[in-house]
Protein backbone atom coordinates (compact mmCIF):
# COMPACT_ATOMS: atom_id res chain seq x y z
CA UNK A 1 0.00 0.00 0.00
CA UNK A 2 2.16 2.79 -1.23
CA UNK A 3 1.11 6.39 -1.61
CA UNK A 4 -0.11 7.34 -5.04
CA UNK A 5 1.32 10.25 -6.85
CA UNK A 6 -1.82 12.32 -7.19
CA UNK A 7 -4.55 13.05 -4.71
CA UNK A 8 -7.13 11.89 -7.25
CA UNK A 9 -7.83 8.27 -7.96
CA UNK A 10 -5.73 7.08 -5.11
CA UNK A 11 -7.02 3.77 -3.86
CA UNK A 12 -5.36 1.25 -1.71
CA UNK A 13 -4.20 -1.74 -3.70
CA UNK A 14 -5.60 -5.00 -2.54
CA UNK A 15 -8.98 -3.53 -1.86
CA UNK A 16 -11.50 -2.23 -4.29
CA UNK A 17 -12.45 -5.28 -6.29
CA UNK A 18 -16.09 -4.86 -5.39
CA UNK A 19 -18.98 -6.10 -7.45
CA UNK A 20 -18.79 -3.13 -9.77
CA UNK A 21 -15.01 -3.46 -9.88
CA UNK A 22 -14.78 0.31 -9.69
CA UNK A 23 -14.38 2.45 -6.62
CA UNK A 24 -17.17 2.30 -4.06
CA UNK A 25 -17.47 6.03 -3.49
CA UNK A 26 -16.76 8.62 -6.16
CA UNK A 27 -16.76 12.37 -5.63
CA UNK A 28 -16.92 13.99 -9.05
CA UNK A 29 -16.21 17.73 -9.11
CA UNK A 30 -18.24 18.20 -5.95
CA UNK A 31 -18.91 21.78 -4.94
CA UNK A 32 -20.65 22.66 -1.71
CA UNK A 33 -21.51 26.24 -0.87
CA UNK A 34 -23.30 27.73 2.09
CA UNK A 35 -24.45 31.07 0.73
CA UNK A 36 -21.32 32.79 -0.50
CA UNK A 37 -19.00 30.46 1.37
CA UNK A 38 -17.48 27.75 -0.79
CA UNK A 39 -16.78 24.85 1.55
CA UNK A 40 -15.89 22.18 -1.01
CA UNK A 41 -14.29 23.37 -4.20
CA UNK A 42 -14.57 21.01 -7.17
CA UNK A 43 -13.55 18.05 -5.10
CA UNK A 44 -12.56 14.78 -6.76
CA UNK A 45 -11.74 11.63 -4.87
CA UNK A 46 -12.55 7.94 -4.76
CA UNK A 47 -12.76 5.43 -1.98
CA UNK A 48 -12.47 1.71 -2.67
CA UNK A 49 -14.69 -0.89 -1.07
CA UNK A 50 -13.17 -1.98 2.22
CA UNK A 51 -10.79 0.93 2.29
CA UNK A 52 -10.29 2.94 5.46
CA UNK A 53 -9.59 6.59 4.78
CA UNK A 54 -8.70 9.21 7.35
CA UNK A 55 -9.56 12.82 6.68
CA UNK A 56 -7.39 15.41 8.37
CA UNK A 57 -7.06 19.13 8.02
CA UNK A 58 -7.62 22.39 9.85
CA UNK A 59 -10.99 23.26 11.31
CA UNK A 60 -13.33 24.58 8.65
CA UNK A 61 -11.59 22.79 5.79
CA UNK A 62 -14.76 20.87 4.89
CA UNK A 63 -14.16 17.42 6.46
CA UNK A 64 -17.48 17.23 8.28
CA UNK A 65 -19.27 18.50 5.20
CA UNK A 66 -17.92 15.56 3.19
CA UNK A 67 -19.30 13.07 5.71
CA UNK A 68 -22.60 14.92 5.90
CA UNK A 69 -22.95 14.84 2.13
CA UNK A 70 -22.45 11.07 2.24
CA UNK A 71 -24.97 10.71 5.06
CA UNK A 72 -27.40 12.79 2.94
CA UNK A 73 -27.59 15.42 5.67
CA UNK A 74 -26.50 17.99 3.07
CA UNK A 75 -26.99 18.27 -0.66
CA UNK A 76 -24.26 18.96 -3.20
CA UNK A 77 -24.33 22.38 -4.83
CA UNK A 78 -22.60 21.19 -7.99
CA UNK A 79 -21.01 18.00 -9.19
CA UNK A 80 -22.13 14.56 -8.10
CA UNK A 81 -21.43 11.68 -5.79
CA UNK A 82 -21.76 8.07 -6.94
CA UNK A 83 -21.77 5.04 -4.70
CA UNK A 84 -21.37 1.48 -5.90
CA UNK A 85 -21.29 2.66 -9.49
CA UNK A 86 -24.70 4.28 -9.24
CA UNK A 87 -25.65 7.90 -8.76
CA UNK A 88 -26.09 8.87 -5.11
CA UNK A 89 -26.45 12.63 -4.89
CA UNK A 90 -28.61 12.41 -7.98
CA UNK A 91 -31.03 9.90 -9.40
CA UNK A 92 -31.63 8.74 -12.94
CA UNK A 93 -34.43 10.60 -14.62
CA UNK A 94 -35.27 10.08 -18.26
CA UNK A 95 -31.93 9.95 -19.99
CA UNK A 96 -30.27 12.30 -17.50
CA UNK A 97 -29.97 12.92 -13.79
CA UNK A 98 -32.09 14.85 -11.34
CA UNK A 99 -31.34 15.77 -7.72
CA UNK A 100 -32.13 12.75 -5.56
CA UNK A 101 -35.60 12.65 -4.04
CA UNK A 102 -36.19 11.74 -0.42
CA UNK A 103 -37.46 8.28 -1.32
CA UNK A 104 -34.45 7.67 -3.57
CA UNK A 105 -32.11 8.75 -0.77
CA UNK A 106 -33.88 6.48 1.66
CA UNK A 107 -33.19 3.59 -0.65
CA UNK A 108 -29.56 4.54 -1.21
CA UNK A 109 -28.41 5.49 2.26
CA UNK A 110 -29.29 2.06 3.65
CA UNK A 111 -25.69 1.01 3.33
CA UNK A 112 -24.27 3.99 5.23
CA UNK A 113 -23.93 4.61 8.93
CA UNK A 114 -22.53 7.51 10.88
CA UNK A 115 -21.16 8.17 14.34
CA UNK A 116 -21.29 11.77 15.48
CA UNK A 117 -18.94 13.86 17.55
CA UNK A 118 -21.65 14.45 20.18
CA UNK A 119 -22.92 10.80 20.16
CA UNK A 120 -26.55 11.86 19.61
CA UNK A 121 -28.00 8.91 21.48
CA UNK A 122 -31.77 9.02 21.91
CA UNK A 123 -32.46 10.11 25.49
CA UNK A 124 -35.97 8.65 25.41
CA UNK A 125 -34.66 5.10 25.09
CA UNK A 126 -32.54 2.71 27.07
CA UNK A 127 -29.17 1.68 25.69
CA UNK A 128 -30.68 -1.54 24.32
CA UNK A 129 -33.52 0.33 22.59
CA UNK A 130 -31.07 2.80 21.11
CA UNK A 131 -29.34 -0.09 19.39
CA UNK A 132 -32.38 -2.20 18.45
CA UNK A 133 -35.11 0.25 17.41
CA UNK A 134 -33.83 0.99 13.92
CA UNK A 135 -33.13 -2.68 13.12
CA UNK A 136 -36.67 -3.54 14.19
CA UNK A 137 -38.48 -0.71 12.47
CA UNK A 138 -36.22 0.04 9.52
CA UNK A 139 -34.76 -3.38 8.71
CA UNK A 140 -37.77 -5.36 9.88
CA UNK A 141 -35.91 -7.64 12.29
CA UNK A 142 -37.99 -9.35 14.95
CA UNK A 143 -37.70 -7.88 18.42
CA UNK A 144 -35.98 -10.96 19.79
CA UNK A 145 -33.51 -11.04 16.98
CA UNK A 146 -32.75 -7.32 17.27
CA UNK A 147 -32.46 -7.51 21.02
CA UNK A 148 -30.05 -10.44 20.86
CA UNK A 149 -28.01 -8.62 18.28
CA UNK A 150 -28.00 -5.45 20.37
CA UNK A 151 -26.63 -7.44 23.30
CA UNK A 152 -23.98 -8.98 21.09
CA UNK A 153 -22.87 -5.59 19.78
CA UNK A 154 -22.93 -4.02 23.21
CA UNK A 155 -20.71 -6.87 24.37
CA UNK A 156 -18.39 -6.12 21.51
CA UNK A 157 -18.05 -2.50 22.61
CA UNK A 158 -17.56 -3.57 26.20
CA UNK A 159 -20.96 -2.52 27.52
CA UNK A 160 -22.63 -5.87 27.96
CA UNK A 161 -23.53 -4.88 31.52
CA UNK A 162 -25.17 -1.61 30.50
CA UNK A 163 -27.86 -2.83 28.12
CA UNK A 164 -30.69 -1.68 30.33
CA UNK A 165 -29.07 1.53 31.52
CA UNK A 166 -30.20 4.92 30.40
CA UNK A 167 -27.86 6.96 28.17
CA UNK A 168 -27.64 9.71 30.80
CA UNK A 169 -26.19 7.20 33.26
CA UNK A 170 -23.19 6.58 31.01
CA UNK A 171 -19.91 8.42 30.62
CA UNK A 172 -19.20 10.13 27.33
CA UNK A 173 -16.92 7.32 26.27
CA UNK A 174 -19.58 4.73 27.04
CA UNK A 175 -22.19 6.75 25.19
CA UNK A 176 -19.97 6.93 22.16
CA UNK A 177 -19.44 3.18 22.24
CA UNK A 178 -23.22 2.72 22.31
CA UNK A 179 -23.43 5.02 19.31
CA UNK A 180 -20.92 2.82 17.50
CA UNK A 181 -22.96 -0.28 18.35
CA UNK A 182 -26.09 1.49 17.16
CA UNK A 183 -24.49 2.29 13.82
CA UNK A 184 -23.12 -1.24 13.42
CA UNK A 185 -26.52 -2.76 14.17
CA UNK A 186 -27.69 -1.46 10.80
CA UNK A 187 -24.96 -3.51 9.11
CA UNK A 188 -23.52 -0.62 7.12
CA UNK A 189 -21.10 -1.12 4.25
CA UNK A 190 -19.78 2.37 4.84
CA UNK A 191 -19.16 3.85 8.26
CA UNK A 192 -18.62 7.58 8.70
CA UNK A 193 -16.84 8.71 11.86
CA UNK A 194 -16.72 12.43 12.57
CA UNK A 195 -14.23 13.28 15.31
CA UNK A 196 -15.82 10.65 17.50
CA UNK A 197 -13.38 11.19 20.35
CA UNK A 198 -13.17 14.99 20.27
CA UNK A 199 -15.92 15.51 22.83
CA UNK A 200 -14.44 13.02 25.29
CA UNK A 201 -12.30 13.48 28.34
CA UNK A 202 -8.76 12.35 27.50
CA UNK A 203 -8.91 9.23 29.67
CA UNK A 204 -11.96 7.96 27.76
CA UNK A 205 -10.51 8.28 24.28
CA UNK A 206 -8.54 5.04 24.27
CA UNK A 207 -11.57 2.86 25.03
CA UNK A 208 -13.45 4.22 22.03
CA UNK A 209 -10.46 3.94 19.72
CA UNK A 210 -9.89 0.34 20.81
CA UNK A 211 -13.43 -0.51 19.78
CA UNK A 212 -12.91 1.10 16.39
CA UNK A 213 -9.60 -0.72 15.93
CA UNK A 214 -11.46 -3.95 16.57
CA UNK A 215 -14.15 -3.03 14.04
CA UNK A 216 -11.46 -2.18 11.51
CA UNK A 217 -9.65 -5.46 12.07
CA UNK A 218 -12.63 -7.79 12.16
CA UNK A 219 -14.88 -6.36 9.44
CA UNK A 220 -14.47 -5.18 5.89
CA UNK A 221 -16.55 -2.06 6.43
CA UNK A 222 -15.39 0.90 4.39
CA UNK A 223 -14.52 3.66 6.83
CA UNK A 224 -14.21 7.40 6.39
CA UNK A 225 -12.82 8.81 9.54
CA UNK A 226 -12.24 12.41 10.54
CA UNK A 227 -9.86 12.45 13.49
CA UNK A 228 -7.00 14.24 15.17
CA UNK A 229 -5.82 10.97 16.72
CA UNK A 230 -2.78 10.50 14.54
CA UNK A 231 -1.67 7.26 16.15
CA UNK A 232 -5.05 5.70 15.53
CA UNK A 233 -5.15 7.02 11.97
CA UNK A 234 -1.75 5.50 11.34
CA UNK A 235 -2.81 2.14 12.71
CA UNK A 236 -6.09 1.64 10.94
CA UNK A 237 -6.17 3.67 7.77
CA UNK A 238 -5.03 2.69 4.32
CA UNK A 239 -4.87 6.27 3.19
CA UNK A 240 -4.87 9.77 4.62
CA UNK A 241 -6.36 12.79 2.90
CA UNK A 242 -5.20 16.20 4.04
CA UNK A 243 -7.82 18.86 3.39
CA UNK A 244 -7.35 22.57 3.19
CA UNK A 245 -9.98 25.09 2.17
CA UNK A 246 -12.25 22.54 0.58
CA UNK A 247 -9.59 20.85 -1.51
CA UNK A 248 -7.25 17.94 -1.02
CA UNK A 249 -3.86 19.39 -0.24
CA UNK A 250 -2.08 16.07 0.02
CA UNK A 251 -2.98 12.39 0.00
CA UNK A 252 -1.03 9.30 0.73
CA UNK A 253 -0.23 6.37 2.94
CA UNK A 254 -0.36 7.30 6.62
CA UNK A 255 3.35 6.55 7.06
CA UNK A 256 4.15 9.03 4.35
CA UNK A 257 1.72 11.75 5.42
CA UNK A 258 2.70 11.58 9.07
CA UNK A 259 6.36 10.64 8.57
CA UNK A 260 7.31 12.59 5.50
CA UNK A 261 4.70 15.20 4.59
CA UNK A 262 5.47 16.99 1.34
CA UNK A 263 3.14 19.96 1.48
CA UNK A 264 3.86 22.98 3.64
CA UNK A 265 0.22 23.07 4.73
CA UNK A 266 0.38 19.47 5.89
CA UNK A 267 3.53 20.13 7.90
CA UNK A 268 2.02 23.20 9.53
CA UNK A 269 -1.17 21.38 10.33
CA UNK A 270 0.52 18.31 11.82
CA UNK A 271 2.75 20.54 13.90
CA UNK A 272 -0.24 22.43 15.28
CA UNK A 273 -1.99 19.19 16.15
CA UNK A 274 1.05 17.95 18.05
CA UNK A 275 1.40 21.24 19.91
CA UNK A 276 -2.23 21.23 20.93
CA UNK A 277 -1.65 17.92 22.60
CA UNK A 278 -4.00 15.80 20.53
Amino acid sequence: MSPSDTPENTTAPGVGDSAADGPLIVFDQVVKRFGDLTVLDHLDFDVAAGERVTLIGPSGSGKTTILRLLMTLEKVTEGRIDIGGEPFSHMPKGSGLAPASESYLRQRRKSIGMVFQQFNLFPNMTVRKNVMEAPVHVLGLSKDEASARAEELLDLVGLGDKVDAHPTQLSGGQQQRVAIARALAMRPEILLLDEVTSALDPELVAGVLDVLREVAETTDITMLCVTHEMGFARDVSHRVLMFDQGRIAEAGHPDQIFGDPQEERTKTFLKSVLENGH
Binding site: R109, I112, F116, V138
Partner: protein, 242 residues
Protein backbone atom coordinates in the same frame (compact mmCIF):
# COMPACT_ATOMS: atom_id res chain seq x y z
CA UNK B 1 -76.47 24.69 55.27
CA UNK B 2 -79.39 22.29 55.18
CA UNK B 3 -80.27 23.83 51.90
CA UNK B 4 -76.82 23.08 50.53
CA UNK B 5 -76.99 19.50 51.73
CA UNK B 6 -80.43 19.08 50.23
CA UNK B 7 -79.23 20.45 46.92
CA UNK B 8 -76.02 18.43 46.89
CA UNK B 9 -77.24 16.00 44.19
CA UNK B 10 -77.82 18.93 41.85
CA UNK B 11 -74.33 20.22 42.52
CA UNK B 12 -73.00 16.81 41.73
CA UNK B 13 -74.98 16.63 38.48
CA UNK B 14 -73.61 20.00 37.47
CA UNK B 15 -70.09 18.96 38.41
CA UNK B 16 -70.47 15.76 36.46
CA UNK B 17 -71.51 17.67 33.35
CA UNK B 18 -68.59 20.06 33.78
CA UNK B 19 -66.24 17.08 34.08
CA UNK B 20 -67.73 15.43 31.02
CA UNK B 21 -67.35 18.59 28.99
CA UNK B 22 -63.78 18.98 30.23
CA UNK B 23 -62.76 15.43 29.46
CA UNK B 24 -64.50 15.44 26.09
CA UNK B 25 -62.86 18.74 25.25
CA UNK B 26 -59.45 17.45 26.34
CA UNK B 27 -59.69 14.37 24.16
CA UNK B 28 -60.80 16.32 21.11
CA UNK B 29 -58.35 19.17 21.70
CA UNK B 30 -55.52 16.67 22.13
CA UNK B 31 -56.29 14.87 18.89
CA UNK B 32 -56.59 18.17 17.01
CA UNK B 33 -53.47 19.62 18.62
CA UNK B 34 -51.39 16.57 17.73
CA UNK B 35 -52.74 16.36 14.19
CA UNK B 36 -52.42 20.02 13.27
CA UNK B 37 -49.28 20.52 15.35
CA UNK B 38 -47.47 17.74 13.48
CA UNK B 39 -48.85 18.98 10.17
CA UNK B 40 -47.39 22.37 10.99
CA UNK B 41 -43.90 20.87 10.98
CA UNK B 42 -44.16 18.99 7.69
CA UNK B 43 -42.00 19.83 4.74
CA UNK B 44 -44.78 20.04 2.16
CA UNK B 45 -46.55 23.40 2.09
CA UNK B 46 -50.07 21.97 1.94
CA UNK B 47 -50.32 20.40 5.42
CA UNK B 48 -48.57 23.43 6.84
CA UNK B 49 -51.09 25.73 5.14
CA UNK B 50 -54.01 23.68 6.48
CA UNK B 51 -52.53 23.74 9.99
CA UNK B 52 -51.95 27.48 9.86
CA UNK B 53 -55.51 28.17 8.73
CA UNK B 54 -56.93 25.98 11.49
CA UNK B 55 -54.79 27.56 14.18
CA UNK B 56 -55.37 31.14 13.10
CA UNK B 57 -59.12 30.70 12.65
CA UNK B 58 -59.89 28.93 15.90
CA UNK B 59 -57.40 30.76 18.03
CA UNK B 60 -59.09 33.98 16.98
CA UNK B 61 -62.68 32.96 17.67
CA UNK B 62 -64.04 32.55 21.19
CA UNK B 63 -65.31 29.07 22.01
CA UNK B 64 -68.65 30.68 22.82
CA UNK B 65 -69.04 32.06 19.31
CA UNK B 66 -68.16 28.70 17.79
CA UNK B 67 -70.73 27.11 20.05
CA UNK B 68 -73.42 29.62 19.03
CA UNK B 69 -72.63 28.84 15.42
CA UNK B 70 -72.84 25.12 15.95
CA UNK B 71 -76.02 25.25 17.99
CA UNK B 72 -77.97 28.12 16.41
CA UNK B 73 -76.55 28.89 12.98
CA UNK B 74 -75.66 25.45 11.70
CA UNK B 75 -79.25 24.13 11.86
CA UNK B 76 -80.41 27.13 9.80
CA UNK B 77 -77.70 26.60 7.22
CA UNK B 78 -77.82 22.82 7.01
CA UNK B 79 -81.05 21.80 8.65
CA UNK B 80 -78.98 19.58 10.90
CA UNK B 81 -79.17 19.97 14.66
CA UNK B 82 -76.18 18.89 16.69
CA UNK B 83 -76.72 17.64 20.17
CA UNK B 84 -75.86 20.37 22.70
CA UNK B 85 -73.28 18.25 24.45
CA UNK B 86 -71.56 17.36 21.22
CA UNK B 87 -71.62 20.95 19.98
CA UNK B 88 -70.16 22.21 23.24
CA UNK B 89 -67.33 19.69 23.22
CA UNK B 90 -66.68 20.44 19.57
CA UNK B 91 -66.48 24.16 20.24
CA UNK B 92 -64.20 23.76 23.25
CA UNK B 93 -62.00 21.20 21.52
CA UNK B 94 -61.63 23.25 18.35
CA UNK B 95 -60.68 26.31 20.35
CA UNK B 96 -58.18 24.75 22.74
CA UNK B 97 -56.91 22.42 20.03
CA UNK B 98 -55.71 25.47 18.13
CA UNK B 99 -53.64 26.62 21.09
CA UNK B 100 -52.44 23.08 21.66
CA UNK B 101 -51.37 22.72 18.02
CA UNK B 102 -49.00 25.64 18.47
CA UNK B 103 -47.56 24.02 21.58
CA UNK B 104 -47.05 20.74 19.72
CA UNK B 105 -45.47 22.47 16.76
CA UNK B 106 -43.01 24.49 18.81
CA UNK B 107 -42.13 21.50 21.01
CA UNK B 108 -41.35 19.42 17.94
CA UNK B 109 -39.22 22.22 16.56
CA UNK B 110 -37.37 22.38 19.87
CA UNK B 111 -36.11 18.79 19.56
CA UNK B 112 -32.41 19.18 18.78
CA UNK B 113 -31.48 18.95 15.11
CA UNK B 114 -28.80 16.44 16.01
CA UNK B 115 -31.50 13.99 17.12
CA UNK B 116 -33.17 14.22 13.75
CA UNK B 117 -29.82 13.75 12.04
CA UNK B 118 -29.24 10.60 14.05
CA UNK B 119 -32.54 9.22 12.75
CA UNK B 120 -31.45 9.99 9.19
CA UNK B 121 -28.20 8.13 9.82
CA UNK B 122 -30.34 5.14 10.86
CA UNK B 123 -32.44 5.57 7.72
CA UNK B 124 -35.70 6.02 9.58
CA UNK B 125 -38.73 7.18 7.62
CA UNK B 126 -40.49 10.38 8.59
CA UNK B 127 -43.17 8.44 10.47
CA UNK B 128 -40.61 6.33 12.34
CA UNK B 129 -38.63 9.42 13.25
CA UNK B 130 -41.73 11.12 14.63
CA UNK B 131 -43.05 8.14 16.53
CA UNK B 132 -39.82 6.74 17.94
CA UNK B 133 -37.71 9.83 18.57
CA UNK B 134 -39.22 13.25 17.99
CA UNK B 135 -42.63 13.00 19.64
CA UNK B 136 -41.44 11.14 22.76
CA UNK B 137 -38.89 13.90 23.32
CA UNK B 138 -41.25 16.75 22.42
CA UNK B 139 -43.86 15.28 24.79
CA UNK B 140 -41.95 16.30 27.92
CA UNK B 141 -41.75 19.80 26.54
CA UNK B 142 -45.46 19.98 25.71
CA UNK B 143 -46.79 18.86 29.06
CA UNK B 144 -46.28 21.96 31.24
CA UNK B 145 -48.14 24.12 28.71
CA UNK B 146 -50.75 21.42 28.20
CA UNK B 147 -51.34 21.63 31.94
CA UNK B 148 -52.27 25.29 31.58
CA UNK B 149 -54.46 24.61 28.57
CA UNK B 150 -56.32 21.83 30.33
CA UNK B 151 -57.24 24.17 33.17
CA UNK B 152 -58.18 26.88 30.66
CA UNK B 153 -60.43 24.39 28.96
CA UNK B 154 -62.04 23.39 32.23
CA UNK B 155 -62.79 27.02 33.03
CA UNK B 156 -64.07 27.63 29.51
CA UNK B 157 -66.72 24.92 29.95
CA UNK B 158 -68.68 27.50 31.95
CA UNK B 159 -69.76 29.08 28.67
CA UNK B 160 -72.28 26.30 28.13
CA UNK B 161 -74.25 28.13 30.78
CA UNK B 162 -75.27 30.50 27.99
CA UNK B 163 -76.89 27.77 25.93
CA UNK B 164 -78.65 26.53 29.06
CA UNK B 165 -76.74 23.35 29.64
CA UNK B 166 -76.92 22.53 33.32
CA UNK B 167 -73.25 22.58 34.20
CA UNK B 168 -71.83 23.58 37.54
CA UNK B 169 -72.13 27.32 36.80
CA UNK B 170 -75.72 27.02 35.65
CA UNK B 171 -76.71 24.99 38.70
CA UNK B 172 -74.99 27.41 41.05
CA UNK B 173 -76.76 30.37 39.51
CA UNK B 174 -80.07 28.53 39.54
CA UNK B 175 -79.71 27.66 43.22
CA UNK B 176 -78.82 31.26 43.97
CA UNK B 177 -82.00 32.40 42.25
CA UNK B 178 -84.13 29.82 44.07
CA UNK B 179 -82.70 30.34 47.54
CA UNK B 180 -80.99 33.72 47.63
CA UNK B 181 -78.09 32.01 49.42
CA UNK B 182 -75.64 33.73 47.13
CA UNK B 183 -72.43 33.45 49.11
CA UNK B 184 -72.63 29.81 50.23
CA UNK B 185 -73.75 28.66 46.80
CA UNK B 186 -70.89 30.33 45.03
CA UNK B 187 -68.41 29.23 47.65
CA UNK B 188 -69.37 25.64 46.93
CA UNK B 189 -69.15 26.23 43.18
CA UNK B 190 -65.77 27.82 43.65
CA UNK B 191 -64.55 24.87 45.74
CA UNK B 192 -65.74 22.33 43.20
CA UNK B 193 -64.10 24.11 40.25
CA UNK B 194 -60.95 24.42 42.27
CA UNK B 195 -61.01 20.73 43.10
CA UNK B 196 -61.39 19.71 39.47
CA UNK B 197 -58.55 22.03 38.49
CA UNK B 198 -56.28 20.57 41.17
CA UNK B 199 -56.98 17.02 40.03
CA UNK B 200 -56.20 17.98 36.44
CA UNK B 201 -52.99 19.77 37.43
CA UNK B 202 -51.91 16.85 39.56
CA UNK B 203 -52.57 14.44 36.70
CA UNK B 204 -50.51 16.48 34.27
CA UNK B 205 -47.68 16.76 36.80
CA UNK B 206 -47.62 12.99 37.13
CA UNK B 207 -47.39 12.70 33.36
CA UNK B 208 -44.63 15.31 33.35
CA UNK B 209 -42.67 13.41 35.94
CA UNK B 210 -43.00 10.19 34.01
CA UNK B 211 -41.99 11.90 30.76
CA UNK B 212 -38.90 13.39 32.38
CA UNK B 213 -37.96 10.07 33.91
CA UNK B 214 -38.10 8.50 30.48
CA UNK B 215 -35.67 11.12 29.27
CA UNK B 216 -33.39 10.27 32.16
CA UNK B 217 -34.12 13.50 34.02
CA UNK B 218 -34.69 12.72 37.64
CA UNK B 219 -36.27 15.46 39.75
CA UNK B 220 -33.63 17.04 42.01
CA UNK B 221 -35.58 16.22 45.14
CA UNK B 222 -35.80 12.55 44.30
CA UNK B 223 -38.87 10.55 43.54
CA UNK B 224 -41.22 11.57 46.37
CA UNK B 225 -44.12 13.97 46.40
CA UNK B 226 -41.68 16.90 46.24
CA UNK B 227 -40.68 15.59 42.84
CA UNK B 228 -43.95 16.99 41.59
CA UNK B 229 -42.73 20.50 42.29
CA UNK B 230 -41.11 22.29 39.39
CA UNK B 231 -37.33 22.30 39.75
CA UNK B 232 -35.89 25.58 40.99
CA UNK B 233 -34.34 27.95 38.49
CA UNK B 234 -30.64 27.18 38.43
CA UNK B 235 -29.51 30.53 39.79
CA UNK B 236 -31.77 30.34 42.81
CA UNK B 237 -30.33 27.10 44.16
CA UNK B 238 -28.27 27.82 47.24
CA UNK B 239 -24.66 26.92 46.82
CA UNK B 240 -24.73 26.56 43.06
CA UNK B 241 -21.97 28.53 41.46
CA UNK B 242 -23.01 30.99 38.83
Amino acid sequence: MEFLIAQWPRFLDGTLLTIQLTLGGIVLAFVLAMTFGVMGTMRHWLPRAVATVYVEVFRGIAALVVMYWLIYALPLLSGFQLEDMFAAILALGLNLGAYGAEVVRSSINAVPRAQVEATVALNMSWAQRMRLVVLPQAWAQMLPTFGNLVVELMKATAVVYLVSMHDLSWIADDLRRLSGETIPVFLVAFALYYLIAQVLIFGVRLLERRANRRLGRVPPSGGGILGLLRPPTVGTKVGVAK
